[in-house]
């Protein structure tokens, strides 16, 4: 015989202000199976929980209903209290009479009536609840880090230094990401490559890090602690084990005029190449889109000059299957397509460049060896105009957000330029200067006060060429008049946007994206590095625009989440999983098709001598996430969900 306890919470005025809780208690008191019904101001408080525990012990309850707020709030609290009193926690259910009742209804009588109905239906459900016990699953202590920029490298190093195994996957031929392309970094002006390359080397040589460059994540299955990941190792056509990185092949390659992606099209590269001189690993790959042999079937010059026979034109993509416990996504960003800004003349005028291109021009490893020259004629520009928010904070172009780094890097550009060319003049069109960060505001002031950066508050409306120079027309909103500036070069602080294939990766991983395509965190304030999918964490600009200090900090935060997961031998999981009735299952595998977690396997039913009689579906308790998709698909109702069984739900509905 059921002995159910019903505890109606006032939640201060939140519930009691609309629902007559005494009436709810009265109505439930005499409901069949209810032993005790009572009300209290705050059942989530210590005395409230004590009251529930006491009732469980004294009345020897077989089930508990707390009529209160949403189960998302305090289900765990009350289940723990019941467990402490000796009742299986899954025999405690929450009747939500706040979010679904008192908060959304005006009329007290009707709200009270609805609260009674909700509570009564849960009583009917809990009568049919059975004890459930948590499922334990092992943890694979190996992390996958996707993306080998500064965020990915930092996360990988932190995990590896704490003893965790790491597989670091980078889709380009070298580690480094965007940070490797930068000249100097704000606010200290230390050389980006000088601080980046030691980290790249450390990551590549770390005994706990397995580095997979020129590789991409193909497929992700499984769940926290037990992911199965397939990685595509793209054909490099160069055997990295044999290659010594001597560079002879790159010198002799006849395809020399390919725009270098690393130099943002300002420099040239060969068809067999490393992205940059300090590449890690320093082993070239052949780009089959440009290679003469792949295009015409003849050439193979690289093969001839290679002294270690490292070139292999027959190479094909390979796949690697990995067992992974946790994933850190650190896939970074892209700069927005400047074609959106016809008025700024990008692509039309060679001397209109993006911020990232300016980084390459100012970088010692860049196409001009650090000398800032106009792309059109190689002349040293005297006046450079910088246009901030070229894309950012412009809802009309689809980027309403602030890209966060542009104010700082534009100030840096003006400074670097002033340091390289003392006669130089910088004009910066800006909307607002956003320089919040340690040493940041001082930095932008220094640009204006010491390095001759002339800030003009206003937007640029038009840009055209006149007598070999660029004319920039804009508004000076502080003086309230239009301005025209003659410039030798224009730098656009283009918006930071997600990687073009971010949504595709999100789908593979089963994580969310915001409207723009940046990956979504589980909670903006309280869980900023977790995704909604357990075991998958975020680091760097793939989540939102970030500078280097923020990316590094978030990478370390993600690493600490991974390490706290790896500190446990086994994980406990909710026992809310599907179960199949083998007697009635017809083996149509509709559930197998429907299951998003590949948690349903085919099982042979055999007679005593081992002959297969028929095959039925069998749920893998470790993989099942309890989503219930299979339940709705099964025509014969052979599959049921523990904790939400059809019997329970039917009783709940009929209790209304």
């Amino acid at each position: 015989m059921a002995r159910i306890g019903v505890f109606v919470c006032h939640c201060g005025e939140n519930i009691a202000g609309r629902v007559d809780c005494s009436k709810v208690v009265l109505a439930l008191e005499n409901h069949p199976g209810v032993s005790v019904a009572t009300e209290y101001k705050y059942f989530c408080s210590d005395p409230g929980q004590e009251a529930i525990k006491k009732a469980v012990r004294e009345e020897n309850l077989t089930g508990v209903i707390v009529a209160a707020c949403s189960p998302r709030m305090h289900e765990a609290t009350f289940r723990k209290a019941c467990a402490a009193a000796g009742l299986n926690p899954y025999l405690c259910e929450i009747a939500n009479i706040r979010e679904q009742c008192s908060w959304v209804h005006e009329n007290p009588d009707e709200a009270t009536r609805k609260a009674i109905e909700i509570t009564r239906s849960l009583v009917e459900k809990v009568k049919r609840n059975s004890e459930l016990h948590p499922i334990e699953v092992p943890v694979t202590k190996r992390a996958l880090v996707i993306g080998g920029g500064i965020a990915g490298i930092q996360a990988a190093l932190d995990i590896a230094n704490a003893g965790g195994e790491v597989v670091l996957v980078e889709r380009e031929a070298s580690l480094g990401g965007h940070m490797a392309q930068l000249s100097e970094t704000f606010p200290t002006l230390d050389c980006s490559q000088c601080i980046m390359t030691p980290r790249m080397v450390e990551a590549s040589q770390h005994p706990n890090i397995r580095l997979l460059t020129y590789s991409e994540v193909e497929k992700v299955e499984g769940f926290i602690g037990n992911f199965r990941v397939r990685v595509r190792l793209k054909a490099r056509y160069v055997d990295p084990a044999a290659c010594t990185g001597c560079g002879d092949c790159m010198q002799k390659c006849p395809q020399k005029k390919i725009p270098s992606e690393f130099d943002c099209g300002l420099g040239k590269r060969t068809a067999i190449s490393t992205p940059f001189a300090q590449a890690v690993p320093n082993k070239p790959v052949i780009d089959s889109r440009y290679c003469t042999y792949f295009k015409n079937g003849k050439c193979k010059v690289c093969e001839k000059v290679c002294q270690t026979n490292a070139i292999n034109f027959e190479m094909e993509d390979e796949f690697l299957d990995l067992e992974i416990g946790a994933i850190v996504v650190a896939t970074g960003f892209q700069v927005q397509d400047t074609a959106l800004y016809g008025e700024y003349g990008y692509g039309r005028y060679a001397d209109v460049v993006t911020g990232l291109q300016f980084e390459r021009l100012a970088s010692a490893s860049g196409p001009t060896a650090g000398k800032v020259q106009r792309p059109s004629d190689g002349a040293e520009p005297k006046t450079v105009v910088f246009i901030q928010c070229a894309g950012s904070r412009d809802p009309a172009k689809g980027v309403p957000y602030c890209s966060k780094i542009c104010c700082m890097y534009t100030a840096k550009h003006a400074m670097l330029y002033a340091h390289k060319n003392h006669e130089a003049e910088s004009r910066i069109f800006y909307m607002d200067i956003r320089a919040a960060g340690k040493g940041y505001d001082e930095f932008t002031r220094r640009a204006a006060e010491e390095d001759n950066a002339g800030y003009i508050r206003g937007r640029v409306s038009k840009l055209w060429e006149e007598n070999g120079r660029l004319v920039v027309r804009g508004a000076d909103t502080l003086l309230g008049r239009p301005v025209e500036v003659q410039a030798d070069m224009v730098v656009l602080a283009t918006a930071m946007v997600p990687q073009p294939d971010a949504r595709e990766l999100a789908k593979k991983l089963g994580i969310g994206c915001d409207d723009y395509g940046f990956f979504s965190e589980a909670h903006m304030k309280l869980r900023p590095v977790e995704t909604a999918t357990a075991g998958i964490f975020l680091a760097g600009a793939c989540q939102s625009p970030k500078d280097i200090p923020d990316s590094v900090a978030q990478a370390s935060a993600a690493a600490s989440k991974v390490l706290s997961l790896f500190s446990r031998e086994r994980l406990e999981r909710e026992p809310v999983i599907a179960r199949n009735n083998e007697a009635t299952c017809s083996g149509c595998w509709g559930c197998v098709l429907a299951c998003p977690f590949n948690a349903i396997e085919k099982k042979d039913l055999t007679d005593r001598s081992g002959n297969v009689l028929r095959r039925v579906a069998s749920v893998n308790a470790g993989l099942c996430q309890g989503c219930g998709t299979c339940v709705t698909f099964c025509r014969s109702n052979s599959i049921d969900l523990a904790g939400f069984s059809e019997k329970q739900l039917f009783a709940e509905v009929m209790g209304l």
Binding site: S586, G587, R635, F650, A651
Partner: protein, 276 residues
């Protein structure tokens, strides 16, 4: 030689050579207009096999009798295009292996029986494709057109009237080759989702649940309607569902044995017109 004779001799040969262990076909029924299924295992019995325009029953469902195909041997069966599509669906739903089904294909065109060339379900893909195209253009019959013209309330009254005759004999389910569940949802009484008594609510529940379970699977063979002892026009429900699935997802059930079920497959360009 008539097709009836031709298939008789083929059946005889197949049985005599041991290529198949049984031939499922049609024989004379209790009245001259009727044909009944017959299960022949001896070559000399093949003279009982009949094939004419009265052979309407879809015989594919008989292959699912438990244990019949478990020895791995082949069975020959008389099938029209609907029957072949049934085999494809049953294979897609892992209820049989199409390699065990030797088909004696035929098509009824008005009052004439024509042969359909092919041995295995996969041989009939062209005929099935032609069927699909024809189905897309097919105009609704008189009653279906009348129903389409009604408003929701009128339609509800119509079906209430029809279902009020239902006696819950489940003949439709027994006759349907797609109703192969080991336990039908109506026989699940823990909980009793579908009311078993034959009053209006229970009857509506049963017939609508069955229509939904057939959505994207029904081949419109008509077995259910012919089996119904109280002449409920069940084919209209299935016809409606088939039309919806065909129009929305270009899904015609039983195209081949690898076809994914309409309700469990997802394409990026699926229309979402039904999402409010």
């Amino acid at each position: 030689m008539s097709l009836q004779e031709h298939y008789r001799s083929q059946a005889r040969e197949l049985l005599a050579a041991g290529a198949v262990k049984m031939v499922v076909g049609y024989a004379e029924g209790t009245t001259p207009e009727r044909r009944r299924p017959v299960f022949i295992t001896e070559p000399e019995e093949c003279s009982r096999l009949v094939l004419d325009a009265r052979c309407r029953t879809n015989l594919a469902g008989y292959l699912l009798r438990e244990g019949l195909l478990s020895d791995g041997r082949e069975i020959a069966v008389y099938l029209s295009t609907e029957g072949v599509r049934t085999i494809n669906i049953l294979a897609a739903e892992s209820q049989l292996s199409s390699a065990q089904v030797r088909i004696l294909g035929f098509e009824i065109d008005r009052d004439e029986v024509k042969a359909m060339e092919g041995k295995r379900a996969a041989d009939f893909s062209e005929a099935i494709l032609a069927h699909k195209e024809r189905r897309k253009k097919q105009a609704p019959d008189e009653l279906a057109a009348k129903l389409e013209a009604m408003n929701a309330a009128e339609r509800f009254t119509f079906w209430q009237g029809e279902f009020s005759r239902c006696i819950k004999c489940y003949a439709c389910r027994q006759a349907c080759p797609m109703c192969w569940c080991r336990r039908c949802v109506v026989d699940n009484n823990q909980p009793q989702w579908v009311n078993t008594s034959s009053h209006t609510l229970g009857n509506l529940e049963w017939n609508l649940v069955r229509a939904f379970h057939l959505a994207g699977r029904c081949v419109e063979c008509g077995n259910c309607g012919r089996a119904c002892p109280v002449d409920i026009p069940l084919h209209l429900l299935n016809r409606k569902m088939t039309g919806e699935v065909l129009e929305a997802f270009d899904h015609y059930p039983g195209m081949d044995e690898h076809q994914e079920p309409a309700l469990a497959s997802f394409r990026k360009d699926d229309p979402e017109t039904f999402i409010l």
